[in-house]
Subunit: 354 residues, 4 copies
C-alpha cells in the first residue's frame, strides 16, 4: 500500500481528500496534519467520521517525518512554496492543490498573487494536474517517479477545471473568432469560499442570495488563460450561489467565420470525440444541460455544448463538484497516474438522486 | 381610489401583485381572478393572507364586468392576446405582465412564440413597460389615458429587465466593439419557473443544484435585443439556482478601441449619470457587486459596473427580485405612471438583512 | 413624531428594528447605534439600504444624548443591565429585546445567566412584553408613561413567544394532566443564532443539516416556565434548520382525565376564543398546520391546534418569524402600546407567496 | 454474485437502492423496474448515472421472470401486497421497503391504512427489518433462507428507525414513568415526501419554511408503538424542513421515580452499552448532539442522549439519512444478513464535510 498523508487536512479540500484516501484501495492514509488542530480527533471536527475513523490530526512537521510516499497539500497559496521542497526532500511525491505551482511564468504568479515565486526549480519540473487536457504532463510525472526523480503535481483550480473542460475542445480546434473575447461566467457553491467563518460564508448572507465577486480580478483568470492559451482574451466572472457543493461554468466562444463547426451537430461531435475514453468527463446528449447535483461528491464532470447559429457562438457548460473534480478528486486522480494505479482507483462513486 | 383587478392572481406574479395592491395607498384591489380557483379564499391557497385578507378568487369573466380602472394580467402568453381586448373594451387600462405585447414586430413574436399575433392594433399602441429605459413610452401611455384612449402596457420580462438595466448605459453610449457579441449570463431563483409543480421545480431537484437552461433558445432573447437595439449580437444564457427570489444578470460588453470609456472610473461615472434621479435603480460604489438578497421583495435594482482594461470589456451586473422589479413591482410602477400617481406609490419597501 | 433610537442596530434584531422604524408612520428613527461600527453607513453593512437610507451608525453614548422618546435595546444580555438605567435616566422609554429584565426572580436570572442581576429596581417595574398574553402589564407601562414614570419593557424571547402563544390557551384553561410534563420541541432559522460568523452559522455547516442544541440547558426554559406558570414541568428542546427566518414550536400537552376539552372541536374553540380580537395571532382552521413562511418578515403568529384522543394530548403549534413577532416586531408592538398608538402601527405587512 | 432486482426503482428510495446495489461487492444489480418508465435509460431520469451506468428500466413483470435471488420493493403500500407473493413464488427473497408487512396485527394495518391485509400467511412469517433492535428476527430470516423457505423482510420506516433507535435503550430498560406519554417530534428533509411533484414539494413552498404535518394521524405512529411496545402512549409529530436528506427525531421520555437512571452519566452508559458492537449506530459523547449532515448518504445513525434532572426526563435524539438508514441502506443491511454476507457490505461509506 502506498503511504499517503494530507497537509491542511482540516479545510474543506483537506477533509475531502481524507474521505477519499481513507477508502482508497491502493493507498493507506497514514497521517493527516493540521497545525492548529494537532492532537484533535478528526471526528471531533468532522463528526461524520464518528464511529467510522480514529484518525487524529498531527502537526505538519510530524507528518513530514513519517517517510510517506505521497503528500497532498491542501494549504493556502504561499504555504505550498515553503512545504513542497520539504516534501520532495523527504522523498515523497507532492500533490499540490494550492495555486503555487500552477502558473508556469513566475512573473505572472507574482503579478496576480503579490509575492515572488521562491521555488523556481520545482516550478520548472511541476506537472500541471488536469489529466484530460494535459495527459503528457502526468505521463512525464509518472516517468520521473519511476526514475526516482522529484515529482510535484500542481492540480488545476476548481474554476479552471470546469471552465477549461468546457472550452478546450472548441479552442484547441481553433474555432475562436479573431479579435473576440471568451466569456466564462461561473457559479460556485459556498464550500468554494473555504471553511473559515466570515460574513460572506454566514448562512444568512449566503442563503437566498446570488452575487458576482472578484470581477476582472479573480486569480484563476491567468490560470485559465494559460490552460487555454489565451492572451488577455478571457473575461472570467465567478458567482456565489446558495448550495454547498457544485460549480458550473458557462463559456461563450464566438466562432470565426471560416470555422469548421457550423452546426449544433458539428459542435457535439467535436466534443464527443475530444473526450472519448475519458472516464470522468461525460459529454451530454445534444440539447441537454449538465446539473451540478449530478456530479456532487464525485470526481466527474458533465459537459453540455450548444451552437447558436444566430450569433455564431458555441456555448459550452461544464459542471463539477468544486471539492471533487475541482480539488480532492482530481488530486487523487493525478496521484493514481503518477503511481501507475488505475486512474479511477478510489474515485468510482456516482452522485445520487439527480 | 383607483379600482384595480388582477387576472391570474394565483400564480407567483399574480399573488405578488395582490400583495402590493392590497397595501397600495391609491389603489383599491377590487377583485382577483383565477379561473381554476374561482370561489376559493386567497388565504386557503396562500396562508400568508390568513388573518390579513378576506379576498376570494373570482372568475375572469366576473372580474371583467366590475368596471375596473386597471386590470393587471399575470397570465401565460397567448392568454393575454384573448383577454387584453376585453379589458380595453371594458374601459380599463391593461397592464400586461405576459410577453404578448412586448415584441414590436409580430413576425418576431411568431418566430419565438410559435403562434401568430392576433391583436395588431393593440400591439401598435402598446407601451413597453420598463420606465427607466423607456420613460417616453409611459409618458405617452399617461397621455393616452388622460385622453381616454385605450392603454396597454407590456411590462418587460424579468431577465430583460435585469439584463437591460445592466447593459443599457454602455450600449446607449455606443461603446460596443464592432463585430462583437454581448454575453448575458443570468441566474434566477425558482419562483421564476412558476407555481406549477414539476420535476424541475421539485425541491429535491432544484435544491443543491445549478444548471443552465434554454441555451440559445430562451424567448427573452429577442426582447433583450429589441430593448438594447442589438441584432443577432446577444448570447443570453439563463441559469437556475436554489433560492426562491432573486435574479442576477452578468453582462459582458467588449468595448470598441476608440471608445470614450477607458477606465473603471469612466464606466462608473457613465452609469451613475445614466440612472441619476431613478428611485428604483442604484448604481453601487465602484468595486461593489450587487446582491440579489438586497433587493428581494422590493421593486429595486442594484447595479455593479467594472471595466476590465486587460480585455477592454465592461462587466455590468444587475440584481433584481424577479417577482418585484422583474414582474409585479414594475407593473405597479408602470400603472402608477399611467395614472399620474407618484411613481413609487405602494413600492417603497426595502429588503431586510442584506 | 416620536423620536426613536436603536442600540445594537447592526445585529439581526437591530437591523430588523431599523427596517420597521424607518417606515413607521408615527415614529422617526433618529439614531442607530453600534459601537463597533460607529461612523459607518448602514448601507455599507446592509446594502439593502443602499439607495433607500442615509442612516449612519453612531456610538451608544452619542445616541443616549439625543433626548429620544424611546430607545430599543438589541444588545446581548448583561449589556442591557448597564444601558437600561442610562436610557431611563435620559427620560426615554426602554424597550429591551435582551433577556435581562424578563425573569422576575433575580435568583433565577443568576442561575441561568451566570451573573447577578444588578438592576433590581428597574426589574421590579419592568413590564413583560408579550401583549397577547400580558395585556395588563403593557397597559400599566402605558399608564406609567402617561405619568412620566420610568418605563422598561422586557420583550419576550423568540422561543418563549412561539411556545407560549401555542401553549397558553390550554394551560391557562387548567388542562394539564397532573404530574405530566409539557414538551416543547422548537425549530429555528439561522438568524436566531445571530450575525457573528462561527462554525455553527457557516453556510456549509448549517445548510442541509438539522440538529438539536442546548438540550435541557437553553436559557429560554425558565422564561417559558415563568410565562406559563410551570415549575420544572417543561422540557424545551430547540433545533436549528437551514432557513434564514422562521420559528416553529410544537408543544405537546397531556390533558387531565377530568378536563373540559375532550375533542378536537373543543380544543379549536378554546383557542379561537382565547385569541379573539388579537390582530397578530391567527388560529388556523382545524386540521391546518401553520407554515413559518406564511409569517416571514411579519409580526404575525399562526397557530395550529390538534387534540389526539388516543393519547389524550393537545398538540399545539406556533409559527412566527423569530426576528418579527419573536424580536423586532413585538418590540415595536409593545412600544406602540406604551405610547398609545394603534397597536399595529408600522406592522401591517403580510408575508408573500406562502 | 447474488442476483438482485429493484421494483419501483425510479422513486427516491428506489434510486438510492440502485446506487448502493450497483456498487455492492457481493450483489449484482440485474434489473431495475419502473412500470411507468419501462424502456427508459436510468441516466435519462437520473443524469447522475450518465457516463456511469447503462441500466435501463424494465417492467415489473419482466423483472419477476429473471430468476433473481433477491428483490427489493420500493413501491407504495398496497402495491407490496400484490407483488410480494409473486416474488416469493419466484423463489426470491423479498425485501420490502413499504409498510405492508410491518404491522404484526392486520387489524391495526387496516385501521391506519384503510385497506384489509390480504397476505396473512406472508405477514405471519415476515421479519421486521431493523437489525439493531430485532437481530433475532433477521437471524430467523437467515435460517429460513438457508432452509429455502420463503423470506419476507419488512424494513422499518424512516421515522420509526430514527425514533426507535433513540428511544429503545431507555424504554427497554423500563424507565418510562407510569402514566406518562412519550413525545417524538421528528424533522425530515423533503426526499421523505417522495419524488412526485406537488405543491408541498415545490421548491418555493418547501424552501425557507418549517411545518408540522400528519399531526396525531401519521401512519408511522402504530409502527413506532409496536417497536417500542407502547400502547396509546406515543405522541408522534413529524415536521418538514428545507433540506434534501436527513431525519432527526427528538424523543422525550419521562422517567419513573424509582428508575435506575438518575444522571446524565447513567443515561449515557445505558445507551453506549445498548449499542455496543453495532457498526451503524454511534452514541455520541455526552453533551454532543447529532447532526443529520454527518450521516447524509450513509447507512449510519448517530444518537445523542441527555438526562434532564429538573424534569426527570431523558431527551434522546436520533439522526439518520431518511433514504439511507431510513430506507435503502437498511434494506441492503437486512439483505446482507439474510444472505450471510458481512452486515456492512456495500454500506461502508461515510458522509463528508460534517
Amino acid at each position: 500500500m502506498i503511504q499517503a498523508g494530507v497537509l491542511g487536512a482540516a479545510g474543506f479540500a483537506g477533509v475531502q481528500l481524507t474521505h477519499i484516501l481513507a477508502a482508497h484501495p491502493d493507498m493507506e492514509l497514514a497521517a493527516i496534519a493540521s497545525d492548529s488542530l494537532a492532537g484533535t480527533a478528526l471526528s471531533e471536527v468532522y463528526p461524520a467520521f464518528a464511529g467510522g475513523s480514529d484518525l487524529v490530526f498531527c502537526g505538519s512537521e510530524e507528518l513530514l517525518q513519517k517517510g510517506l510516499d505521497v503528500v497532498f497539500l491542501a494549504v493556502p497559496h504561499t504555504a505550498s512554496l515553503d512545504l513542497t521542497p520539504k516534501i520532495v526532500e523527504s522523498g515523497a511525491v507532492a500533490i499540490d492543490l494550492s495555486a503555487d505551482f500552477r502558473l508556469k511564468d513566475p512573473q505572472t504568479y507574482e503579478a496576480w498573487y503579490g509575492v515572488p515565486h521562491t521555488q523556481l526549480d520545482l516550478l520548472a519540473i511541476a506537472a500541471f494536474g488536469l489529466p484530460e487536457l494535459f495527459p503528457e504532463a502526468l505521463q512525464e510525472a509518472y516517468e520521473r517517479h519511476e526514475e526516482k526523480l522529484p515529482v510535484v503535481v500542481a492540480c488545476a483550480g476548481c474554476y479552471p477545471t470546469a471552465t477549461s473542460l468546457a472550452a478546450a475542445p472548441a479552442l484547441r480546434a481553433g474555432l475562436l473568432r479573431e479579435g473576440a473575447v471568451v466569456v466564462a461566467d461561473a457559479i460556485s457553491g459556498v464550500t468554494g469560499a473555504g471553511k473559515k467563518p466570515s460574513a460572506r460564508t454566514h448562512f444568512c448572507f449566503a442563503n437566498e442570495n446570488l452575487e458576482a465577486y472578484g470581477v476582472a480580478t479573480h486569480r484563476h483568470t491567468p490560470e485559465i488563460e494559460q490552460i487555454l492559451q489565451l492572451e488577455d482574451q478571457l473575461v472570467f466572472t465567478p458567482h456565489l450561489a446558495p448550495l454547498n457543493r457544485g460549480l458550473l461554468s458557462t463559456v461563450t466562444i464566438p466562432v470565426g467565420s471560416g470555422a469548421s463547426v457550423v452546426s449544433a451537430k458539428d459542435a457535439h461531435r467535436l466534443y464527443e470525440e475530444f473526450y472519448e475514453g475519458c472516464t470522468f468527463v461525460t459529454v451530454l446528449p445534444a440539447g441537454t444541460q449538465p446539473r451540478t447535483a449530478s456530479v456532487a461528491g464525485t470526481n466527474r464532470a458533465q459537459i453540455g455544448v450548444t451552437y447558436d447559429s444566430r450569433t455564431q457562438c458555441i456555448i459550452a457548460t461544464g459542471a463539477i463538484d468544486n471539492l471533487g473534480k475541482g480539488a480532492a478528486g482530481q488530486a487523487v486522480q493525478c496521484a493514481n497516474i503518477v503511481f501507475g494505479l488505475p486512474e479511477g482507483a478510489g474515485l468510482e462513486s456516482l452522485a445520487v438522486l439527480v
